[in-house]
Amino acid sequence: MCVLCGVLLSEHWAEQEGGRRGRVFRVRLLNRVLAFYGLRLDDWSGRVWTLRDAKGRSVVVADLGSLWIEAERLAGRPLDPLDPELVAAL
């Protein structure tokens, strides 16, 4: 796994700020993006997240890096932030 996934690092680089409130805010913002792909993220015990699709499939993810890998797998297509349709939806 790469640094995107935070493996071998104590904390993912993009999650080093904000503490507990930051974590709640991050989930809310991620759900704005993930909703475009029919996915939903929930915090689980303040340590990991669960990611679900509309069919009820779910997976536990540890941080932002693994989130995008799993989200791509569940959505069955690349999640490209430069996609004009996503940009318009936000």
Binding site: V3, L4, V7, A14, P81, P84, L86
Partner: protein, 311 residues
């Protein structure tokens, strides 16, 4: 204090070893340990030289750029242990010379993520040699030049370096550029050189040729939401990791000083809060080196993520 590590990379025959050999001849680099992957035709005569066999450990289902270089981690740990036991001279710097085909990202990853290595060492900079005769020959050499903080154009006695310098400035305008023949470079130009301020650099915003790797610079007037930026960048690197070779810049996240962002392919340094801005200009500026996207694509997308965070 962490020991600085300078990574010297460059394509086959581009003059890495000549450069390293000449650098080590300078008295101020006497206390330097050198790690090489191959002993080439150019001999390095140095009292603290080790050779390692390139050994890349792929982690889980990870991508190649973020693999751990086990050989390098082992050698760096061993060097510290031997230094502590007094078995080797007390080196104060390490120079790692990579093979010509080496991808710099796994080496950066190793230095940032391997627990003992990151405890004892810090990556001081990446130096890439590109020879004026052959230029950027393959995608490997483009990756190496994109990862560089300092570029050395070698063999300037054999070919006019002008066209190559022009290409390199389009590819990686943030890197300091030095010309060299037979490795004649002052150590200070490669080891202690100041960063170039992205605001003073010229970026070419004309449409890129298909598959051309080049730099674009985002400039953002107001503060950016850090959570939105983190989400956006991790998503971008997952979606377009193969095409984003470098990310570097200063972010205004509304704090007193800027946040320094530096990444090579997927490998991102832990962001660093700087105590203050260099001057009154507090605009964020982030340089992306890659292909398949333009400045407008990045700006529109990042602005949408930032607006979503403020909604």
């Amino acid at each position: 204090m962490k020991t600085p590590v300078t990574l010297v990379t460059g394509f086959l025959g581009s003059g890495k070893t000549t450069l390293v050999a000449r650098l080590l001849a300078h008295p101020e680099l006497r206390d330097t340990a050198v790690i090489v992957n191959e002993l080439g035709e150019v001999g390095i005569d140095h009292h603290l030289l080790s050779r390692v066999d390139e050994r890349t450990v792929l982690l889980g289902n990870g991508c190649v750029c973020c693999a751990l270089r086990g050989d390098l981690a082992d050698e760096l740990r061993d060097l510290v242990a031997r230094r502590d036991r007094g078995e080797v001279p007390a080196f104060r710097r390490v120079v790692v010379e990579t093979t010509g085909l080496a991808d710099p990202a796994p080496i950066v990853y190793t230095l940032l993520s391997e627990p003992l290595v990151k405890h004892h060492y810090r990556l001081d900079g990446v130096v890439a040699t590109v020879d004026a005769q052959h230029g950027l020959r393959q995608y490997e050499s483009v990756k190496q030049a994109a990862a560089a903080d300092r570029l050395v154009v070698t063999k300037t006695d054999l070919a006019d370096p002008g066209p190559l310098i022009e290409r390199l400035q389009r590819l990686n305008p943030g890197a300091a550029l030095v010309k060299s023949s037979f490795g004649d470079v002052e150590p200070s130009a490669l080891l202690d050189g100041d960063e170039r301020d992205p605001r003073e650099l010229a970026y070419d915003d004309s449409p890129a040729h298909a598959h051309e790797v080049r730099a674009v610079c985002l400039t953002l007037d107001g503060p950016i939401d850090w959570t939105a930026f983190g989400i956006w960048l991790t998503m971008l690197l997952q979606a377009r990791g193969e095409d984003v070779l470098r990310v570097k810049g200063l972010l205004n996240v509304g704090a007193e000083g800027p946040l320094l962002i530096n990444g090579v392919q997927h490998v991102v340094h832990p962001p660093e809060h700087l105590p203050a801005w260099p001057d009154d200009d507090r605009r964020s500026r982030v340089v992306f080196i890659g292909r398949g996207f333009g400045r407008d694509d990045l700006e529109r997308s990042l602005a949408a993520f930032d607006a979503a965070a403020r909604a």
